[in-house]
Symmetry: none
Subunit: 116 residues, 2 copies
């Protein structure tokens, strides 16, 4: 199953679906030209609503990762962005930093240390 959901996660379902695709892209599991399963199919197989999947697909389209066409479904267009996951992680890190009250200077310091 290409797209996975973690019921325990507090992240919105549509975000999780989008994240699954992004990760598959950055992992090379999905590449330009590949097709995503139809929204209705994903929905039933994950036991979630079609609209939720379509919202995720719309998100990915807005990010330029896929193209949506009727009857043709969702096709990977954007050269598999190898940094999709990096961006996601950076976003999460920034969110968490803000949440616990760590400022930018300290945050970059932490990242620097981990990177070394």
């Amino acid at each position: 199953m290409l797209i996975r959901i973690d019921p325990a996660s507090q992240a919105p379902l549509f975000e999780q679906v989008a994240a699954s695709v992004r990760r598959a892209l950055s992992d090379g599991e999905l590449a330009k030209g590949h097709q995503l399963p139809p929204a209705r199919e994903v929905a039933t197989s994950l036991d979630i609503n079609v609209h939720t999947v379509l919202r995720a697909y719309g998100l990915l389209r807005d990010e330029g990762l896929i193209e949506l066409r009727r009857r043709r479904g969702a096709v990977v267009t954007g050269a598999a962005d190898t940094r999709a996951r990096l961006n996601t992680l950076a976003g999460e890190l920034a969110d968490e930093a803000r949440r616990v009250g760590v400022d930018l200077d300290e945050l970059t310091e932490i990242v620097k240390e981990k990177f070394a």
Copy 2:
């Protein structure tokens, strides 16, 4: 003003209040034994609801950062590790950056952008 709110932020108010305190703690602006202003006072001064402030205080208590006692208010007890997740994320980010060949300068640039 010890506790600050960013009205533009999409983060919940109670999280922002808690983050303010955590930041003050990690900055050394607050230390063990110090007192936080009474919830009612913070509420009126920030023009938010008392319950919102008390929720933030409760959160901090659950994290073991402060103690709450009637009449005595909120007292800083200890600085638990509120950064476990931050460290984990930073580690993953650094790993991924190395994996896709992003150097430290660029990585900090990305983080900076996300943090803004």
